[in-house]
Every structure is written in structure tokens, then in C-alpha cells.
């Protein structure tokens, strides 16, 4: 079988929604399906369409711990969209295709490590599921995730925050003007992974020119410097000028040209809710670019509605290139300094709001460092108003290389938490197998 340029896993989930009238509803990809079919893209020799396979619950538990459990929080649609990403990974790793696009829903980049319910339309972080699968199944180590959704991928940031082998870069509309309100340059990673989480908040109104300058001036050089084995694109499409939930000015052509430059090994659909005016064209553009076909003729019918960005948008881009470029270049020194400062333990407190279900979660996350291995983590979580009532859990997360001493320390810590009787659940996560033990 000849290698195709692009493996396409198209899964519009025509029978899944969050609730009636919700932006995540059945027909979100209907017009995209119509456009792709009408263009004849599924027949092209450059493109091979795949039927997705369902993921297993353990696949989801490599990056996630659900309270009370992942199985009790998901629908079959989540196993399907995560499975679509695994199908994409297999297609690329087997060499059947050069790169792949998981054009699937439901999306995932707002889902964090600990899951109590749906936030930002997401329950399962499908990119994170794929990253951990690539590691367990194929032994891939260094991966870059470039998030081009208009919202800050706070879930992806949370999952990868301690991992220096995952470079997470997100550009998005400034958090002061848009959900989820995070994603500033100073959120650059925990001490052990400082500089591997790069946030690029753009001013509302930024368009093609701005994101391309940002890519050429910062993202591209950083990627070249990092030398990842694989590049993953969280391909949200709500930077589009017609998106109803955001205020940016990117066009389908701008997105396609970016996909062309980025040359991601695997792209995964995230947000994008201009289902008629943007998604059909942006997806056509991205698919053509990834399949190495001509995308120059992809132009939205209502392109006249596009406004010229305010000059301040470009000024912000230049500032970011400078400021975040410095974070990247000084990451080793600063990281070492931060590690020295915190000793063998680093903690952060998080207040997390689940907009979809009105859940308020308080977390205390502790990274336990070790000189022989990557250490381990413990997370103390309390959530009010989940669909299973108020929840509390103490979660211990091992890393893939956690040494025997640290494993013993982690188990002892979990047992201590159990004896304290302060939590409803004591859970211990094995990232390699996705087994979550109840202690």
C-alpha cells in the first residue's frame, strides 16, 4: 500500500451533544461533512480515510484520574473521539500515512488531570490520551503540542505542567477577555519543566499576519530548538473571524498556511463554533495543507466581513516574541534556580471551575522530586456540586520512571491519607498502563 500524505479520521458524532442548543451539538460538523464530501476530498489518493476504533477506559486513565472514576464520567462518545486520536497515532506510526488529522468530537483541551465532570465542553483530554499512548505503545519521548485554538488549553497545560519532555505552546485570545481566563507567559511550567509551557496571549482582533509573525518569529525557532520526535497540533478553529464565541480575525487561508508551515505529524480538532461560516472552509484548508495539496483557492464567501486588526495587535506579538523567547532561552538556568529554591517538593494551589456543570474544585498539587528519577505527585482535591454530590479524593500519581524508593514513598503517602479518613477516595495512578488503583 502506497503511503498517503494524510490519514483522515473524520468523526462528526452526529448522535452526540452536551445538551440541546449547546454549541457542542449534533450538527457541529454537518456542514463540514457536506463541504468535504462535496469537494471530493475522501476520494483523493493523497488522503486515506480511516474508521476510528474505540479507546479503552485504561487509555483515558494514562493522563487522567476520574473522581469517582473515569468510567462514571464519560459517554461512549468520549471513547470514540479519544479512539480517533489513537487511530491517527497508529496510522502515522505504522507509516501508512505521512501525517494524520483526527477531525473528531467531543473535544478535550480543557480537561485536566483530575476529572470531576465537563469543563469548557471537555471531559477527556484527547491529545493527552494520545501523547501517553504514543509513549506506552511506541516509546516516543519528546513531543511538542502546538495549540491553535482561540481558548487557552488550560487542561493540556495542567496535564503537561511537570513534564519537560512535552513542549506545550498555546496562542490564544488574551485570558482577560475570554474563557478560561488563564494562559499568561508566567505560567511556564513547574520547576522541573520550566520553560516547556509557553503561553502566547494575543489581543482580540489579531489575524493572519499576527499569528504568522508569531509562528515565524517564535514558535518555529523554539520547535527547531526543542527537536521533538512528533509535533501535535490542537487544531481549534475559533480564531476565525466569524466565530461567535471569540473575537479574532484569522481566515481559513491563514489557518491552512499555518498548518502548512507547522507540518504537524498529527492534528486534532478542538473548538470552533462558527459551524457554517468557518468550519467547512477551515477544515478544507487544513486538510489540503496537510495532504500537501493546493489550498490557495480556499476562500470564505463572506471574506468581506473581515476587519483589519488594530496595530496594537502586532505590537503585542512583538512583545511576546521577546518575552517568551527569553523564557525559552533561559529555561535551563531558571529551572535549576527554581528547583534549588523549592528543594524536594513543589506545591501549587488551584481553584478550578467547571462551567458546564457549575462544579467548584479546590486542588493542592504537590510534586515530589527525587535525584534518581522524575519523582511522583500527590493531589488533594475537593469538589462541590458534582453530579455525584460533593467529592473529595487524594490522588497519587506515579511517573513512568518513578524509582522503587519513590514508589514506596508514594504508597506510604496514599496509606497515610487513607488512615486520616479525610477523603472519600484514595487513588493511585500508573501512567504507563492506565491502571488506577483504589487504596
Amino acid at each position: 500500500m502506497k503511503q498517503a500524505n494524510l490519514g483522515l479520521i473524520f468523526f462528526p458524532a452526529f448522535d452526540w451533544m452536551i445538551s440541546p442548543g449547546h454549541p457542542e451539538r449534533q450538527e457541529r460538523l454537518l456542514y463540514t461533512r457536506d463541504q468535504l464530501t462535496e469537494e471530493g476530498l475522501f476520494d483523493r489518493p493523497e488522503i486515506r480515510e480511516y474508521r476510528l476504533r474505540m479507546a479503552e477506559v485504561n487509555d483515558l486513565q494514562r493522563p487522567h484520574v476520574g473522581v469517582p472514576s473515569i468510567a462514571k464520567l464519560i459517554t461512549p462518545a468520549h471513547l470514540a473521539s479519544a479512539g480517533g486520536c489513537l487511530t491517527a497515532a497508529d496510522a502515522v506510526m505504522s507509516g501508512e500515512v505521512k501525517r494524520a488529522f483526527a477531525l473528531v468530537r467531543p473535544p478535550g483541551h480543557h480537561a485536566m488531570r483530575i476529572v470531576h465532570g465537563i469543563r469548557g465542553f471537555c471531559t477527556i483530554n484527547i491529545e493527552a490520551v494520545m501523547v501517553e499512548y504514543l509513549r506506552s505503545r511506541y516509546g516516543i519521548k519528546k513531543i511538542a503540542v502546538v495549540d491553535t485554538d482561540v481558548h487557552h488549553g488550560d487542561g493540556s497545560q495542567d496535564v503537561f505542567y511537570h513534564d519537560p519532555n512535552v513542549l506545550y505552546i498555546s496562542f490564544h485570545q488574551d485570558g482577560r477577555t475570554l474563557y478560561p481566563g488563564t494562559g499568561f507567559p508566567n505560567e511556564a511550567g513547574s520547576p522541573a519543566a520550566w520553560g516547556y509551557n509557553l503561553n502566547l496571549p494575543l489581543l482580540p482582533g489579531s489575524g493572519d499576519k499576527e499569528i504568522h509573525r508569531l509562528f515565524d518569529g517564535l514558535i518555529k525557532p523554539v520547535l527547531d530548538d526543542f527537536e521533538p520526535e512528533l509535533i501535535i497540533n490542537s487544531a481549534g478553529q475559533d480564531n476565525h473571524f466569524s466565530d461567535p464565541l471569540a473575537s479574532m480575525s484569522v481566515t481559513a487561508h491563514g489557518y491552512a498556511a499555518l498548518a502548512d508551515k507547522l507540518k504537524a505529524d498529527i492534528a486534532v480538532l478542538e473548538g470552533g463554533y462558527s459551524i457554517e461560516a468557518a468550519l467547512p472552509y477551515v477544515n478544507t484548508g487544513i486538510i489540503l495543507a496537510m495532504a500537501e495539496m493546493d489550498y490557495s483557492k480556499v476562500i470564505e464567501p463572506d471574506i468581506r466581513a473581515l476587519r483589519t486588526p488594530d496595530p496594537r495587535c502586532m505590537t503585542r506579538v512583538e512583545q511576546l516574541i521577546d518575552q517568551v523567547g527569553t523564557i525559552w532561552r533561559s529555561r535551563h538556568e531558571v529551572g535549576k534556580m527554581l528547583l534549588d529554591k523549592c528543594g524536594n517538593k513543589w506545591q501549587r494551589k488551584k481553584g478550578i471551575y467547571y462551567d458546564e456543570e457549575g462544579i467548584r474544585e479546590e486542588q493542592l498539587e504537590t510534586a515530589h522530586y527525587c535525584t534518581k528519577c522524575s519523582g511522583w505527585m500527590s493531589i488533594d482535591t475537593n469538589a462541590r456540586g458534582t453530579r455525584y454530590g460533593d467529592q473529595s479524593a487524594y490522588v497519587v500519581c506515579l511517573h513512568r520512571d518513578t524509582c522503587a524508593d519513590c514508589q514506596k514513598a508514594a504508597y506510604d503517602d496514599a496509606l497515610r491519607a487513607k488512615q486520616s479518613c479525610a477523603y472519600k477516595y484514595i487513588l493511585l495512578q500508573h501512567p504507563d498502563t492506565g491502571v488506577v488503583e483504589t487504596i
Binding site: F11, A13, G21, Q35, G40, Y50, V298
Partner: protein, 581 residues
């Protein structure tokens, strides 16, 4: 709520206009002709049985002569006034396309924005401005002043094909352009939206192009056939078999001649259906001289391919069966390899048992006593010349059979795999899966019995060999039902529904819903069939979709898409009989 159901059969009102009332007992005389690669077969079916059958060599270059030979043989002594219908399955369109005997076509397309269509069509198209968006809104009209002079007819080009992206959502731009082309002197203009109501601009365009390209050849053929039948005092209407196993009256087929491509396999499938449609999940194998045609069946119905047929390297909107042809047949040549053998895809000619010069697969079957005809001694001698050192003749014959079965079994496995990996777009379809677990094999054709019994043994499946398989294709043609498929799409916010195949765009009636859509489309199909003097009282839904549309946080309407057809298949089953030719 969403419906995404497939192939739900429902019975519509019986048709009032009934010209031929087939009552399932088969009381009329039907004439079927199948032009194959080697033989042209003709059958006359009367009162539910084959009344006469004939097999004559196909005359390549002049297909009609072979048809007339077979026709005269089968009509010998018959009362031709009793013939109610003539159906022809011919290679005329396939040959014209594969041999490049087509006429020049002016191809004009309205692509709008999107994929660059360079290289997507057999000829470079003329790009015309104007386009329609995915909701069927005219985003731009054609600016004819920009194309001044370019639409003028080139000398010698009399047919044109016109196709616009999303013309199935709104064909207006196509109509305007076709009108302009007719004004400038084109005799016939084929429209993409009329050839298929389904999305896929590239496939519709190729269908329209190929329809125009074979139009002249097909029309001439149709006229000759009509003339020849008239000469023989046959006044019954002539119908043409299509690749999807349905028939069309000749005059309707002239509007979409490309549908008459690849009818051989379709006729074979219908023949199998006529001789006793395989129940449950079955795989049929039509073993001919050079090839074996493999098809899948589910509860007596052959499965259609999910995508249209390919003509050369160009995808079209022509519907066809989920089939595959492999180069294994009774006359397959045998090549001796250092170890083992290779069978086919070349044809060696007749078996040694029948006086042929080279050993064939049939000879191996004769040696193994899986077939019994001709001179067995000759088969044994012929296979004997192929033995490896120390190999007995029986062992060599078995190894040859195994090599042939390998090819067929691999093709079946690939087809099963293809079926199981077809993408699905709903969670419930992912969960339910689409594995096709075959329960039995059905063999027809001259070489079938021995070969298919051996295959059944190997695959652990029971085997059925219905009698009368020798002229199955012509029987299939004789008994094929007329079919027509059409789509209806309604976007209730627009207030209209559209049946692209007819260009019919009407205001939505009050209380419009899926059921109302089915009634409208079913009535349209019956109306169309009535106009063509076709019988047909059963329509079925091929696919349907229902979506609520929301703007902001408010329901604004519904999108209903429906595709239906007059159910294809055969008019009634018959009892075949074995006749030696």
C-alpha cells in the same frame, strides 16, 4: 433527536398507472440479453421459467451482430408478440470508455472556492464564475460578460457537460449556464445535478462528462437495437441495465448513458438473485472462463458499494455493487513455479479435457474428480507435465487448486476487511460495528461446483449451487426491475425543499416532517416511473438524516435529507434448468 437509519424498507401506495402488472407469478414473456467479454447470451423467460436460451460468441468491434445472432437463436419458434419487455445488458458503454471511442466534450465547471480541481477530470475544464454555498445559497452568479466568446462552440464539439459545486443544493447556476450553452449551439448538455442528487462535485462532474462522451455511441446503439427488434416484429419497450442492477427505458437511459457502464457484474448478481437469492449473509461467486465475480449478500439483497464506480482513474457517481473480479476461472492458465504453481490471471483457452493444448484449472479439477467433463485421460496427461520432482499428478492438481483458492480467498478477505473499515459517523454505528460474517457461499457459472465446494471446505462454510447458472447473467437482465433513485433536501429555515434530480424546488407544505418528506419523494419516484411506463410499487429509503438547526441559542429550523429509490432487484424468482450448449 437524530435519525441516521439506512435501508429501511417501507411500502408505499400501489401505483395507479400500471402498464405491466407483474404479480409475482410471472405471466408475461421477457427477453434478456447479456453481452459478456466472451459470450453474448439471450434468454426468453415465460411463466416463471426459462423458455429458451442461447449462447453466441461476442462480436467485438460490432457488438450488435452478436446480439442479433443470440436473439435469432432464442426467438426461433417463439411467438414474439407475447414479449412484453426487452432488457439489454451490454458492454457498449464500457467498451467505448475503455477503448477511448468517445466524442469530444466541452466541460464547464463552477467550482467556487475550495480544492484546486486541476487533474480531477479527464479533460481540463473551462472554469466558469458563480457558485453556491453548502446551504444552497447562491454566493455568486455567473458573470457571463467575463466569459464573452469563450462559451462559443468549438467546431466539431456538439455536447457539453456542466457541473457546479453544491448544485445539488441549488441547481440554478447550472441551469443558466446550460441555457447559455444551448443558445450557442450545443445539441445536448448534461448536468451534474441531474445525474446524481448526492454530494460530491468531482464525481458528479465526471459522471456528466462521461455521459456526454459516450452519448453518441450509446444513442446509435439504441437506434440500431430498436431497428433490429422492429425488423423481428418485436414492439415491446426496450430497457437498459444499469450498473446498480436496475433498468431504465432506453429513452431515459439516453439522458444518463454513463449508468450503463459495467453492467456485466450487475447482471450476474441479478441472475443469482433470480435463481434463488442467497439468504442470511452470503458470498456469491460467479465462476466464468477467465474471472470469478465475488459479491456480498444480506438477506437476499446484494450489497451496493458505498461509493460510486471508478471509470479509469476517475471516480464517478455511478452506483454499483460491492463486487470484485479476480482472474481465476475454469480456463485459467497454470504457471509452474520452482515451488508450487500460479493460476491465472491469463486464460489458457479450453481445457485439455476438451481438446485444448495447455492444462487449465478445469483440468486440475477433473483430475481431482471435482469436475467431470471431457476426456479425463487428457487432463491427467496435461497436469502430469507440470509435476515437480517426485510429485504425483494428484498432488500437483491439489497444489494447483490450492493456489487458485488462495487467490479467491484473499480477495474475499480483502473485501471483508474493506467492508469492516468503512468509516461511520455516529457513536452508535461505531459501537454496533459493521463486520460482515458470511454464513454460506453460493456458486454459479460453469466452473463453480467443484471449485466452490473446495473453497467452502477451506473456509468452513456451507455451499449452495443453484441450477441454471450457465446463463445467469441474461436471466438477471431479463428479470431486472426498473429503478430510479432520488434525493430530497429541505432546510426549513429556507421554506423550500429540493429534489435535485429533477430540479424541483417547491414551497414546504404545512406540518412538514420526515414522514411528509418520504411521502413527497415516494410520490415523485412513482410519478417518474409512471412517466417512463415502468411498473413499481415499492420504494425504500437508502439513507436519511435529520438535524435541528440552532442559531445563537434558538432553534431556527430543521434540515431533512432523504434519499430513496424504487427498490431494485428482480421481478420474480425462476427455476433454472441445465442445458448443454
Amino acid at each position: 433527536m437524530i435519525y441516521y437509519l439506512r435501508r429501511q424498507v417501507f411500502f408505499a401506495r400501489a401505483l395507479n398507472i400500471t402498464l405491466l402488472q407483474f404479480n409475482g407469478r410471472g405471466e408475461v414473456m421477457l427477453l434478456g440479453i447479456d453481452v459478456g467479454g466472451t459470450f453474448t447470451d439471450a434468454v426468453l423467460v415465460d411463466s416463471g421459467a426459462v423458455y429458451a436460451q442461447a449462447k453466441r460468441p461476442t462480436t467485438h468491434g460490432e457488438v450488435l451482430r452478436g446480439i442479433l445472432d443470440a436473439l435469432d437463436a432464442v426467438l426461433d419458434g417463439a411467438d414474439v408478440t407475447q414479449i412484453e419487455r426487452v432488457v439489454i445488458s451490454s458492454t457498449i458503454v464500457t467498451n467505448a470508455l475503455t477503448e477511448g471511442k468517445t466524442q469530444p466534450v466541452f466541460l464547464a465547471v463552477m467550482t467556487g472556492p475550495g480544492m484546486n480541481v486541476k487533474g480531477c477530470f479527464p479533460v481540463e475544464p473551462y472554469l466558469v464564475s458563480g457558485y453556491v454555498d453548502h446551504r444552497g445559497k447562491i454566493a455568486a452568479r455567473t458573470e457571463f460578460n467575463k466569459h464573452y466568446g469563450l462559451l462559443d462552440r468549438q467546431s466539431g464539439v456538439t455536447v457539453a457537460a456542466v457541473s457546479g459545486k453544491f448544485a445539488v443544493r441549488n441547481p440554478e447556476n447550472e441551469y443558466v449556464l446550460a441555457h447559455e450553452l444551448k443558445k450557442s449551439g450545443y445539441k445536448k448538455v448534461f448536468l451534474g445535478s441531474e445525474l446524481s442528487g448526492e454530494l460530491n462535485f468531482i464525481r458528479r462532474t465526471n459522471s456528466a462528462y462521461f455521459a456526454a462522451a459516450v452519448d453518441k455511441t450509446f444513442e446509435a446503439f439504441g437506434k440500431q437495437v430498436e431497428w433490429a427488434l422492429k425488423e423481428r416484429s418485436i414492439t415491446a419497450p426496450v430497457q437498459i441495465l444499469k450498473a446498480d442492477g436496475g433498468t431504465l427505458p432506453l429513452e431515459a437511459a439516453l439522458k444518463q448513458p454513463v449508468e450503463a457502464v459495467f453492467t456485466g457484474p450487475a447482471a450476474s448478481v441479478l441472475g443469482i438473485e433470480a435463481l434463488g437469492a442467497p439468504q442470511g449473509k452470503s458470498i456469491s461467486l460467479d465462476v466464468g472462463g477467465t474471472t470469478t465475480d465475488i459479491a456480498f449478500w444480506d438477506n437476499g439483497e446484494p450489497l451496493l458499494a458505498k461509493k460510486g464506480a471508478m471509470i479509469g482513474r476517475y471516480p464517478t457517481a455511478v452506483r454499483s455493487f460491492h463486487m470484485r473480479s479476480v482472474g481465476i476461472g475454469g480456463d485459467s492458465a497454470i504457471t509452474k513455479l520452482p515451488q508450487g504453481f500460479k493460476v491465472g490471471p491469463e486464460r489458457a483457452g479450453r481445457a485439455a479435457a476438451l481438446g485444448g493444448t495447455a492444462p487449465t484449472l478445469a483440468d486440475a479439477l477433473i483430475v481431482l474428480r471435482l469436475a467431470d467433463f471431457g476426456d479425463r485421460e487428457a487432463s491427467v496427461n496435461a497436469i502430469g507435465t507440470l509435476c515437480h520432482d517426485g510429485e504425483t499428478t494428484e498432488a500437483a492438481a491439489q497444489a494447483i487448486l490450492d493456489a487458485a483458492l488462495d487467490v479467491i480467498e484473499n480477495a474475499i478477505k480483502e473485501m471483508l476487511h474493506e467492508w469492516s473499515i468503512q468509516p461511520v459517523y455516529t457513536v452508535s454505528d461505531v459501537i454496533s460495528g459493521s463486520d460482515f460474517g458470511p454464513q454460506q457461499l453460493v456458486g454459479v457459472g460453469g466452473g463453480a461446483p467443484g471449485l466452490i465446494h473446495a473453497l467452502g471446505k477451506r473456509m468452513g462454510l456451507p455451499v449452495i449451487i443453484p441450477p441454471g447458472g450457465m446463463v445467469a447473467n441474461a436471466i438477471g437482465a431479463a428479470l431486472a426491475r426498473p429503478t430510479v433513485a432520488a434525493s430530497l433536501r429541505a432546510d426549513t429555515t429556507e421554506g423550500y425543499y429540493l429534489i435535485p434530480e429533477s430540479g424541483k424546488r417547491e414551497r414546504l407544505p404545512k406540518r412538514f416532517n420526515m414522514q411528509a418528506a418520504e411521502e413527497i419523494l415516494s410520490a415523485w419516484l412513482h410519478d417518474k416511473a409512471g412517466g417512463w411506463q415502468m411498473e413499481g410499487n415499492e420504494t425504500e429509503v437508502i439513507s436519511r438524516e435529520y438535524f435541528r438547526t440552532v442559531h445563537g441559542y434558538y432553534d431556527t429550523g430543521e434540515i431533512i435529507y432523504l434519499r430513496m429509490q424504487l427498490k431494485p432487484g428482480i421481478l420474480y424468482k425462476i427455476t433454472g434448468r441445465e442445458v448443454a450448449f
